[in-house]
């Protein structure tokens, strides 16, 4: 076979039998399959742990001052406390400071961006009725443009105190979150956009609006219950 490394030789080498071709390809494909399954199995646990840790970090990031956390799920408008390990099944995460006071609740929101789904986590403080923190969990926005939703300090400043007050009925937001063009923000419930990344910024605003419209009234109504859950 080593003599065949330059196929320009005068007589073409004999065609190997089809069986040989099929066996070679089959063997390579099988080996490839085994390798991938093996690597998948080995990396499954670390990958899940990475995601869990990233989510835990994100919870504390969007709730400045929080040092402990409690996981909750919601069934029929009622909050159910979950164990610490059931992070993945939780709908919301309550964060408490050192003295056990409720700082706020971290919630997930998602919508379609310019290039696939954008998933974000934001912190809602029921006592102040504001969004107090924000971080992007997952996005595949264009590097250098759409990914400014994760890095642009001016855009992130929107979420230090974003107004999500409820109206008199307590069942809807007084002012739904609105995206506006860059530099046009005049109201505390508006999100100042990013020039060149309009689609991504609007997608974030839409995710937050939909999520806040669903969750904020519920959490606001249950905030006393949440405040008692600290350990």
């Amino acid at each position: 076979m080593s003599e065949m490394s330059t196929p320009s030789a005068a007589t073409p080498p004999a065609m190997p039998s089809p069986l040989r071709l099929i066996t070679t390809l089959g063997l390579i494909a099988m080996l490839s399959g085994f390798t991938i399954v093996l690597i998948y199995q080995v990396t499954l646990e670390p990958i899940a742990r990475n995601h869990r840790e990233a989510l835990e970090r994100a919870v504390f990031e969007v709730l400045p001052g929080a040092v402990s956390r409690a996981n909750f799920t919601v069934i029929d408008q009622e909050l159910i406390r979950l164990s610490d390990e059931e992070l993945a099944a939780a709908d919301l995460f309550a964060g408490f400071d050192e003295d056990g006071n409720l700082i706020g609740v971290a919630l997930e929101a998602a919508s379609r961006g310019y290039a696939g789904e954008i998933r974000v986590l934001f912190g809602y403080a029921p006592d102040r009725e504001k969004i107090i923190g924000f971080t992007v969990l997952q996005s595949s926005e264009t590097p250098g443009l759409g990914d400014k939703i994760e890095t642009d300090p001016r855009f992130l400043a929107n979420f230090e105190a974003l107004d999500v007050r409820l109206d008199e009925t307590g069942e809807a937001l007084a002012n739904p979150i609105q995206p506006v063009p860059e530099g046009a923000k005049t109201q505390p419930w508006e999100i100042d956009g990013i020039t060149g990344a309009t689609v991504s910024a609007v997608a974030v605003a839409r995710a937050l609006r939909e999520s806040t419209e669903t969750w904020v009234p519920l959490i606001f109504a249950h905030q006393d219950e949440l405040a008692e859950e600290s350990e």
């Binding site: 490394s5 070679t24 390809l25 990475n50 250098g144």
Partner: protein, 214 residues
């Protein structure tokens, strides 16, 4: 076959450097243009893509060189593609397991490496015909050449489009970025600019060599 078959040749500096300059995958052979255009809007992205591609290039060169006498040539391309795809998938999982941050920064690009024809080109043109040592050194040179090309394109695009290089601001706040260079058309402009530069330098050098030879 004569005794001086290419695989018996001693390793020379050219084995390594041809990928950097004489046969630079992007600027000379025009291979791997898809990632070179798509992932070169900042110097950091370009560097990350270059490093990941180099890694896959090394791994696939190693395997293909090891298996070169076992694969009949009628099914070689299919075999190479399976090997490269396996390697890319493995790299994808491993990076995901090692660091979520790195994965998020590279995630969208890693799968793109499968279709980088510079890697298949190396497998076909070099690794399948040379000993493991040669194949690794040559693959590494090609990977560096690819990285260099991407960083050159990405650097110019970042400077013009953001006014920064590797995230460091160069011109201060009054700089008005040229957004077109971040967008796909900018990739074509900058790539063609570098192609002209490289072609001009190469021609100049060839002319000089010809003059010396005469």
């Amino acid at each position: 076959m004569s005794a001086t078959s290419s695989k018996d040749k001693p390793m020379t500096a050219t084995t390594f450097t041809e990928g950097l300059w004489k046969e630079n995958p992007v600027f000379v052979m025009l291979l791997g243009l898809c990632p070179a255009l798509a992932v070169s809007n900042t110097a950091v992205n370009a560097l990350a893509m270059g490093v990941a591609s180099t890694f896959v290039l090394l791994g696939s060169s190693l395997l293909i060189s090891l298996l070169r006498n076992l694969i009949p040539k009628q099914v070689r391309i299919a075999s190479y593609i399976i090997i490269i795809a396996t390697f890319v998938t493995a790299v994808d999982y491993i990076i995901h397991a090692l660091s979520l941050e790195l994965y998020n920064a590279l995630g969208a690009f890693i799968q793109l490496i499968v279709v980088n024809c510079a890697i298949l080109g190396r497998a076909e043109a070099y690794a399948s015909k040379h000993k493991v040592g040669h194949a690794l050194v040559n693959g590494f040179g090609m990977g560096l050449g690819f990285t260099l090309a991407l960083v050159l394109v990405g650097g110019v695009r970042e400077i013009l489009g953001f006014g920064t290089l590797f995230g460091v601001s160069l011109f201060g706040a009054q700089f008005q970025p040229w957004a077109v260079f971040i967008l796909p058309p900018g990739g074509f402009f900058v790539l063609s600019f570098w192609l002209v530069v490289f072609a001009a330098v190469r021609r100049n050098r060839e002319r000089k060599e010809a003059a010396h030879g005469a």
